[in-house]
Amino acid sequence: MSSRIWSIDLEKADELFNALAAGQRLYLPIEQAGQVQFKEYDPADSKQKVRLDALNTVRSAKDLFFPQSENMAAFKREGKKIEIIDNRERVSPFAIFGVRACDARSFEILDRVFLSEPVDVSYADRRENGTVITLACNEPEETCFCEAFGIDAAEPGGDISAWIADGKIWWQPITARGEALTEALADVLTNAEPDDEKLVMQKKQIREIIAQLPLHELSLESFQPERLKEIFDSPKWQELSEACIGCGTCTFVCPTCQCYDIRDYDTGNGVQRYRCWDSCMYSDFVMMAHGNPRTSQVERFRQRFMHKLVYYPANNEGVYSCVGCGRCLAKCPSSMNIVKVAKAIGGEANV
């Protein structure tokens, strides 16, 4: 990690954002209709409400790399002939500021899926052109459990790590891409000391808050790939899944959910093929012409948690496909979530 560090007064955040937006598209946590989402920042729009204090955007930063829907191709059918039109556009460079440590880790989890052979070309293109600027979490919430995955919210990672402390934004490039972007900001950033007392204090404070959070002790140790069948066969799934209404909200707010659908829409002037997010919580997710291997919500519910806590780790050196962002805890309309599952199934397994 680079030891060089910069800062800018929080009051002058606009100067930083304008300088960033001058070089590439810039996405920030922006409030719209009471909801904070990563939106493109427009320096000319004074009404845009940038919310650096918002802990989690409603949807995760995943959208910028794996969008909810994207056009893959178009087709023209004329008589017996078909024409394939590859109409995907390559993205131009962009930066995203305010990514939390949990979301930053989620990119590494998605990378293992989409950048393994055969590489997903759209995702790879966005990863190569996107600079991730993280922001440490000064006020982690009760739903946070990133610590269970070894994530340090005080050292948020990405291409550049940022902190808010002592009325300043602190800025530390981590990767070569982060260094390059920082060089272009020489006019707005001021050199600072990496071991500045105020910054050190802020990091310490973040860790102290996390140590007092209700999910501080959450352990996933018992979810081991070699116990796959035992966990799959747990009688607890039945009871746990009874709360699930199959709305799919957890999958849509999740930064690591990767499942997608490929679907054609006949526009009347050719067929457009889209890739869009899908949810294993839906009844038709695995339905085939001749049957459905997951006929009830018990199986669909189990699939989601088995994937995150057992199947994904089995294929990825034990890495869980969860980052503890807490969105599913906050958003599930029936208050069922991965923590309850981990406690019920994991607790049982520990006995």
């Binding site: 893959m72 087709f75 059918r77 017996k80 002939k81 078909i82 394939i84 590859d86 995907r88 390559r90 990378d111 899926v113 989409f114 950048l115 393994s116 052979e117 055969p118 590489v119 997903d120 070309v121 759209s122 790879a124 293109d125 990863r127 190569e128 052109n129 790939p225 796959l228 069948k229 799959f232 066969d233 990767q258 499942c259 997608y260 659908d261 490929i262 054609d264 829409y265 006949d266 067929v271 093929r273 890739r275 899908d278 294993c280 997710f285 695995v286 339905m287 085939m288 012409a289 001749h290 291997p293 997951r294 199986e299 699939q303 088995m306 994937h307 057992v310 199947y311 089995a314 294929n315």
Partner: protein, 290 residues
């Protein structure tokens, strides 16, 4: 540099990788009616020949844009470089549509997907027992013809094939007149219920396999409806076969074909990427959810 290990700079990148999700055009050159609900489609590249190289047991995504896209096993043997074949049962939106098309119709095709049967690694030099039910012959026919086209590399070949009725037997010409004439190759046909004019065996495949009481010096390739696979495997074990001698091929809903869309998993394995061919003892390691 690119995040993957290809070594290219980002900007040229999108064209450097073959896009596994982007199809090419295939042309249906002829259509054979096999049974009341199965047709075999010959497909070539627009300039002729096969659309891509593959190994027996691999699959391809066929699509009529706007109608649907689905995974089908490639029925022809890769030793045939002139065309690919797909035996397709009419049972859903896309297959209904395909059953209505006429020759010269274009489709989109992408692949190949999956691991295929280990025709070189594990099957070479072995006596082979193929067991298929209904449309389950489609993926096995690719291997059968591959082995018969490389006849000296394989031992004896037995083919047990059953269907509901004599009119439901697919690839009947090869079953009746081509394969039985070849060296050290035996075909054992059965239908579920007695039928006028049928002088062959009557009964379900699992019980026929027991009656045939094969010697255990064979490697088995098994494909059919899930229930048939389950009971046939039990029959084989009753005769004395071990699960490690039996390969089968699976089918689940698929969208991407490359283990990323999250749809076709059985436990931690993706059928499209880690399968569709599994050795039966490998399936024991996985949850029973297929």
């Amino acid at each position: 540099m690119c995040e993957c290990s290809c070594g290219h700079n980002g900007h040229e990148h999108i064209h450097e990788h073959k896009d596994a999700l982007m199809p090419v055009i295939g042309v249906v050159t002829s259509i054979r009616i096999d049974t009341p609900d199965v047709k075999t489609f010959r497909v070539t590249a627009p300039e002729g020949g096969i659309c891509f190289d593959y190994v027996p047991g691999q699959c391809a995504m066929l699509s009529v844009p706007g109608v649907g896209e689905a995974m089908f096993s490639i029925t022809s043997s890769p030793t045939n470089k002139d065309y690919m074949e797909f035996s397709i049962k009419k049972c859903g939106t896309l297959t209904d549509w395909l059953h209505e098309i006429e020759p010269e119709q274009q489709l989109t095709i992408r692949g190949p997907y999956g691991n295929g049967f280990p025709v070189e690694a594990d099957l070479k030099g072995q006596n082979l027992l193929f067991i298929a039910g209904g449309i389950g012959l489609a993926p096995l026919r690719s291997v059968i013809n591959y082995c018969l086209n490389n006849r000296d590399s394989y031992g004896s070949i037995d083919i047990v094939y059953g269907a509901r009725s004599s009119s439901d037997l697919v690839h009947i010409e090869e079953l009746k007149t081509v394969w039985p004439e070849l060296k050290d190759t035996n075909v054992h046909l059965t239908i579920d219920r007695p039928e006028e004019g049928w002088d062959g065996h009557v009964g379900f495949v699992p019980s026929y396999v027991k009656e045939l009481d094969f010697s255990l010096d064979k490697t088995v390739l098994l494909c059919g409806p899930p229930i048939m696979i389950k009971f046939t495997l039990a029959s084989l074990q009753e005769i004395g076969f071990d699960k490690t001698q039996v390969f089968t091929t699976m089918e689940l809903k698929m969208k991407c074909g490359v283990g990323k869309c999250g749809r076709c998993n059985i436990g931690s394995k993706y059928v499209c990427k880690d399968g569709p061919v599994f050795r039966c003892d490998e399936l024991d390691e996985l949850p029973d959810e297929y």
